[in-house]
Symmetry: D2
Subunit: 401 residues, 4 copies
Amino acid sequence: MARNICVEPYMATPIEKQQIELVERKGIGHPDSIADGLAESVSRALCKEYIQKCGGVLHHNTDETQIVAGRSIPEFGGGQVIQPIYILLVGRATKEFQGTSIPADTIALKTARNYLKNTLPSLDVDCNVILDCKFGTGSSDLMHVFGRDSKVPVANDTSFGVGHAPFSELEKIVYNTERALVEDLKKKKGQKAVGEDIKVMGLRNGEDITLTICSGLVGQYVDDIGAYVNIVEEMKDYVLDLVPKYTQRNVTVDINTADDIAKESVFLTVTGTSAEMGDDGSVGRGNRSNGLITPNRPMSMEATSGKNPINHIGKIYNLLSTQIARQIATELDGIDDVYVKLLSQIGHPIDQPLIASAQISTKPGVKFDSMRKEAEGIIDEWLANTRKITEMVAKGELDTF
Amino acid sequence: MARNICVEPYMATPIEKQQIELVERKGIGHPDSIADGLAESVSRALCKEYIQKCGGVLHHNTDETQIVAGRSIPEFGGGQVIQPIYILLVGRATKEFQGTSIPADTIALKTARNYLKNTLPSLDVDCNVILDCKFGTGSSDLMHVFGRDSKVPVANDTSFGVGHAPFSELEKIVYNTERALVEDLKKKKGQKAVGEDIKVMGLRNGEDITLTICSGLVGQYVDDIGAYVNIVEEMKDYVLDLVPKYTQRNVTVDINTADDIAKESVFLTVTGTSAEMGDDGSVGRGNRSNGLITPNRPMSMEATSGKNPINHIGKIYNLLSTQIARQIATELDGIDDVYVKLLSQIGHPIDQPLIASAQISTKPGVKFDSMRKEAEGIIDEWLANTRKITEMVAKGELDTF
Amino acid sequence: MARNICVEPYMATPIEKQQIELVERKGIGHPDSIADGLAESVSRALCKEYIQKCGGVLHHNTDETQIVAGRSIPEFGGGQVIQPIYILLVGRATKEFQGTSIPADTIALKTARNYLKNTLPSLDVDCNVILDCKFGTGSSDLMHVFGRDSKVPVANDTSFGVGHAPFSELEKIVYNTERALVEDLKKKKGQKAVGEDIKVMGLRNGEDITLTICSGLVGQYVDDIGAYVNIVEEMKDYVLDLVPKYTQRNVTVDINTADDIAKESVFLTVTGTSAEMGDDGSVGRGNRSNGLITPNRPMSMEATSGKNPINHIGKIYNLLSTQIARQIATELDGIDDVYVKLLSQIGHPIDQPLIASAQISTKPGVKFDSMRKEAEGIIDEWLANTRKITEMVAKGELDTF
Amino acid sequence: MARNICVEPYMATPIEKQQIELVERKGIGHPDSIADGLAESVSRALCKEYIQKCGGVLHHNTDETQIVAGRSIPEFGGGQVIQPIYILLVGRATKEFQGTSIPADTIALKTARNYLKNTLPSLDVDCNVILDCKFGTGSSDLMHVFGRDSKVPVANDTSFGVGHAPFSELEKIVYNTERALVEDLKKKKGQKAVGEDIKVMGLRNGEDITLTICSGLVGQYVDDIGAYVNIVEEMKDYVLDLVPKYTQRNVTVDINTADDIAKESVFLTVTGTSAEMGDDGSVGRGNRSNGLITPNRPMSMEATSGKNPINHIGKIYNLLSTQIARQIATELDGIDDVYVKLLSQIGHPIDQPLIASAQISTKPGVKFDSMRKEAEGIIDEWLANTRKITEMVAKGELDTF
């Protein structure tokens, strides 16, 4: 059956030409991102267990993970968590299949502990966190066996996913600023005071970019207010050194704008995340599956993390539309922006969307007509291979936040 | 201090001219909307209590409300809830202020019960629901007294809100279809079988509109499969009669596409909401504050419902940008689309955004330049009166989902 | 098979001749008693549902019900609950049996609400209480069908029950003081200020009895400190009028000994129970199944309330031993005290205890030998009819606390 | 002020002469004992922290700890926990005192984890257990400073404690059987298959003693059914070798009487405790503070574990009465049994009980009169030094279960 694919030219001020552009990224230690990360890592661990024990992924959704903030008393040189962070892993999982028991809750606890240890090295998982787990049982009739069963799953919902490509300069900067601060400045260069809860808000006003960065330092690695000021300065310089890779525009960096240095009222944490003090988190309320929040671009509200990668259309179509957009932007010349939207109808096979739409904004002088067919081909091929997304998710090859 | 206001012309295919448009609305009985509605109604009740007892709204956020689905056995002519829906009201609230105790949890329970009774008349709140409540205490230093304290609150976060106007045809149709089915067909015309959990997904492909409606009927008002088929047909006819008010395009209506009438496998509920059987819900994962999900339009990820309307920028700026966009679209002639974005910086007064951006897409032949000043004036005036948003929220004059 | 029954003479100072005797009763509004009452009423409701739907009682235990205290601000003429009481109904219940679903949690919620309304009339169940419910599923192989299946269930545990008779004077006084204050003074005579949370501690020192009564009055029915003093006086007089029915000894009554009238620091409540302010409660930590706590008598630690009445030996043997003791004390002449103990061994039929022991303390001059046979007969007959206890429990004919 | 002390002779068949005697002990791995142990260890850790930070023990009660059973699939050579055990640490603790924060929940989590690791070596605390913690805040006005403040605390309740001495033969056997199986056979002699959840029920019928022992072996240390039979036999022989230390009577030992060896249906566990599979636990429902349940002796219903040792009379008087009884039994010659009861009145100093009663049953020919004064002296001295009990508890010198 032919697929409903619609590729249209899109006349719009290209993103780089728009006067105002906003881009946000919540770092991996932001409470919403912790929720996303836990939900997705638990889902992956379940996928692995299901495949190993039952030969295919069974029904599950772990996307309601909730972080309830604790209370802490951060201090230069130390500090302590007074009230532990409460983390509730909640959702549904198949716990029995054809006589085989799957210890879903046990796996979830183990996976979540490891995820927290690896992601938040200053968090003492033994006593700064209460890790609770309440998985209901899902229906067991939703098995899809890789390699054997050739039937395409049907959509579990009427829902859509969206994706775009390529990243704008500001999108690249915002994404990579957070990544580099944690992975390079902290882990490789050894500046342990950098916390994992880094929020980067990028504003481009014409040729001027302002990065507003909010980042709680880790008290035990900051001796006093002087050290604090120095480290913040170091982070600022680091970012200013980094951005020329991505832009020639003027960049201003503001870090922790609410600090009052004179009063020593600054943004310090015990554990590196503001979940320790007042900030709750939920799955699906932070970054979209491309790692960003981009109000200048189409977005989907669907949470991607923690949903099963077999038939949960909110997950599959978001990941898929981003992959499609990226391939179109890479393989076709003369494109400013591509926007892809995929819409399912509940009960219909996921490879037959109600509509697969691509809007392409071309560079001046580039002819659109020649592109249509190529773009349609790319879309059609991805839809013919939705299973590939499932496999990439189960293998952990696709980020979800 | 002059405000950072930027009004720019936006060259883009106007929404009505784009080939593909997607619009979604989750009805008031959808689990995500129930979460939004509870969060917002509890926040309103707290506002009222705070104003009455303390002369001003105190710090609170009730935006982490969580719905964990129950299990049910729906049947023609009745059915029963086997496992109650679990609802957790969670967040933070000031419980003591200058010696006065505020019974936040008690108020929340009472308000939530009433909200559920009014919103879901087929739900037996006494035994189909477990209503739990765990409010932490917030800081009490965040009071803002209307009429006395003239100081503008500072933003609690670096965050943005977005809004657009006017609604497209499809946006009007999707929004009003759900509203009319519940408020008119059910309440006024007495078709009690219509459940409150109505999801409307609108797709416009050029001149053809497809409305995919998912709506669980209430079993006790549906005698048998024949009655079911008739009621679904009645709903379809009702919608087809309704849409010409908003469009001249061709409209197709699909209701409960996953039904298998021959096998009597249809979408029936006991209570009118799918929260009774497997569908969880969270605040901020459904409709944006304008009541819709619109991937062809800029959107914010911020949850609006349940946040305090004094300094929670994620709430105020979303509501404010929508108000601004609507006023610009109404008062200025020759506009196709207006997009407004407001960005705060933590610690700065909320009337002084880091940027207030309006992108205006004009009709052919309309000159932009004359508009700039008027638009700037509207933005400036709203920013000078952010308190108005707070008051409208406290009075319940603004919808949030 | 002959039963292991051992009836022995017991030489002991009879209870009425011992110098010091202690007896305690926690009233029906005491947090531990609320937990007991909820657990037992839910169990009864489940028994009824199981019998109706499945023809026999299925496996369940609701005996882990937990009351977490709230916080309140009691006042003369009113007061309010600031933090609701949290009640968790927890245990195990069969939710599916041979294709039939039993809505255990739904029934539990409904039953618990009704129990609270009837027991604590000043408690606003809608907003002074959070009623949570988390029943796990038990094994479904434990069905015992009345009237059809003649097999005796086997004990689920190695455990014992104990009972004694007759009640001493002090036991009668303590038990009936609480009962009369609630059922007669409050309900019949209309003194609504009497709360349901009445703890009566009886001390007999030779011929002098001291009743220490702790009883939180209900604020809305007490106008001021003067009224409070009068009502406490009224309660005291009421009790002093009551006790001559049971004793000729000297009786002193102390009510709310921690009150400081001058400072108006007195024992007032909003709801009639101290669960509103700081006092938690659990099943099985209060009264034994005879309604009393009696350190001068043998007691069992087993919780009786909320356990299934089919094979839960901790419940059945406690109720059974009390019935046996009472029948022996009633039917045999010349007895001071009878103590009955029944010990099971896990896996053995409940009508075949490892030992059924009766210790009989006779009045001076009474010959024990003639009693042995009669007592053995009474014990043997009850053991041959353990089903009778099950039926009495299911019908609600036996108190458990 | 003279104390109300009453020492009376008690004419009763001495325990060793009674025909039937029952004694029970729940081992340290029994769910009720785990709850007791966690509650008490957390209370001790808080005492330590309070003393260190505030110079005295502050108000707290951790005695509502609850164990909700998990589910497991035990197997010879291994097995796994399918559903983790849920442990809720709940109660009240002072979290702030004169500007100092006390991280009560953090301490509780850490202490509980360590306690579980040390007590149940086969339990994987990281993924077989969900450790939750919800401490409310208590009043901070209840501080008692050792060494400085000479005022005696007042009783928090009208309540009593009871104790007896010496242990009968059966009491010694039951207590030491469990202790030796865990501490000697398992830990010293290396028989790791012995689980920690050992319930010993002792019945003495005249000169014949039957010990019914229920003990789940640890699957990973039991290769197959043959090994199981051998280990149970080894345990039986071990106990039979042990008991002659305490008695010359005939002793029969029954272990795991519900086993069906032919069907390989035996009592196996993954973790050593039946909390992994269906058995819930609560504080105060198991052993009394002397480590036993003794229906032939006076008992108190009060939970001892987890209560604060400053003014919680239910704890202090139970521990105190046992100490008094033991000293009387040790120091005075010619005593069969001593029973001590202490009764408080709320609001009165704990060194001034409403009654302190001792009942002494003397050996034939021994004169009671000479004993009275000595016994009174012992009681009076202990009451003059109630602080000693507090100190012993804080130092961990007194067992509570």
